[in-house]
Subunit: 354 residues, 2 copies
Amino acid sequence: MRIAVVGLGLIGGSIALAAAERAGAEVAGWDADPQALRAARECGAVRDGAGSLSEALIGADAAFVAVPVGALPQTVRQVLDHAPEGCVVTDVGSTKRAIVAAVSDQRFVGGHPLAGAETAGIGHARADLFDGATWYLTPAPDTSGVLFERLHRLLKDIGARPTAIEPDVHDTILALVSHLPHVLANVLASQAAGVLGDGERLPATGPSFRDATRVAGAPSSIWTDIYLSNRDSLIAQIDAATMRLNEVRDALQRGDAGWIEAWNNAAASDRRRLLEGEAAGGELHELRASVPNRPGVIAQIALELGRAGVNIADLALYPAPDMSEGVVAVWIAGAHSDRARQIITELGFPVARA
Amino acid sequence: MRIAVVGLGLIGGSIALAAAERAGAEVAGWDADPQALRAARECGAVRDGAGSLSEALIGADAAFVAVPVGALPQTVRQVLDHAPEGCVVTDVGSTKRAIVAAVSDQRFVGGHPLAGAETAGIGHARADLFDGATWYLTPAPDTSGVLFERLHRLLKDIGARPTAIEPDVHDTILALVSHLPHVLANVLASQAAGVLGDGERLPATGPSFRDATRVAGAPSSIWTDIYLSNRDSLIAQIDAATMRLNEVRDALQRGDAGWIEAWNNAAASDRRRLLEGEAAGGELHELRASVPNRPGVIAQIALELGRAGVNIADLALYPAPDMSEGVVAVWIAGAHSDRARQIITELGFPVARA
């Protein structure tokens, strides 16, 4: 099988590596940036020789377009112009309606792997980047069944879990669970900076602000395109959030303790319900342990859990203002949570279950 | 010195333990809940003998009122009624204007230690809970200087950093960096539950949703009072957030890429500036390492950093959807960050600096 990858960043580079290693594919790559192309050749992600986009596509059975969302329509069209008749063409953009609407070709299937957002560049590319990752695919009514099946199999071969989804459902869900949280984080960070003024330090107020703004200011080179290409879904979610904020505001205004309490209780059960099913290994249980915040404590807990074969699905440390102490929250899947609780307690750290 | 503590939860119990251990005080305690009172006696937080609120206050030099915010005005008045002439009386509520406005007595100083929000109950009380913690105090113009000085010294003795602040400034800052983030987390959790429907799992979309909703549905027994007692400050912050959301909405509506990019870049620098000064040990540097998500990896990193004397101020694990791999972000203070980067890299995990 011959694979072409156009756009050799983290995702494109990882596709190239995985296709070669996992699917035994011969991989040609192309990037408009000569430096990225050279780096991809040097690290072995692509074979030597492709001197142009069209050359990379010669004889390709599948082509991946891994460029920023804003450059997708033009690049996908170029690739379709040069790709062979029987070549499936897909992209990896974080929003799907715009590109699906812009392209009409039975060889094209929109795609979006949920992986790799935390680092960027071919330097972080890895063959195992997609292991177990959901890889959304948006086949259109006129998509070739043969080509869709080939892409589906190829994605499984490189370790991903291909999952078909409608482009509008995809964009609504991503607007809600990814794009809106990014917007709220940005708003909160800038609002705090505005109120606290130049040169002032954030007062020591615990971790809620830090958590809430963790994703503020994600790279504009990627995110400006994402926000804009999904703008109507995102606007709908912003409007819904604004309406909910106004409801809270009104309840506060009239001092309605019953409403506030019911609203707060509902949020608690809503979040629990949404996150419970997330882990492949069953419900996640959150355990909170009070610990002195000295070097080695987290190590000790993680090491003991590791020895017992208990995996930490997620972990957060909430330090006291002076960093001398804190609470460690660990999320443990299903049946292991009781064992984890016992282990941490036996280490001498009191555990509360959230 | 004799200390009275009224309300024996996590904060009250920790004050009792710290005052006895650190300040050599004789501590009497009282709680309207007989079970809490018995637990406090059993764990040695308070001496035997106080059979009533008034009895606990006999001969007291300082009295702490550590009950929920909604019960504060009534309880503080009761304590002032029974406290000796020369006894300083303070509270530990998360909002300050309401209680300061409700009480006019030269013996009273409002207070708020920034500690202990993550666990609840006397079972988690510790003498070192306040070590290094900012402890806001709101002295009024008629507050006795002698009594304020006594309280200030006592708080230093038990390990805290007393810091005087105006009640309205306190409540504005807390509305911004604590109460508003809690409201946004609630809104996001319930909005997602509403869209995704009953019984649906949250799709695997990375950690931004989990971080953004970490504090959703904090205990209503505490938070309903907090929201309501600070409602005008909170309403002002909600209104400001709504206005900012509408600006983003309008920029999206008109497809203004320049505005979106400038806004996103500003959020990035705003957050960096706010959080940089937070750690006692200097600026925090965020390092992101790509790691396989198997038991022991976090342990290995934390252990190696611990061995080198490098403390982890904050830590977050962003697992891939199948939990097989991920990115570990660690926040390291000042001069240690280069060393930490080297150590993690030498362990074989590529590090990107955020």
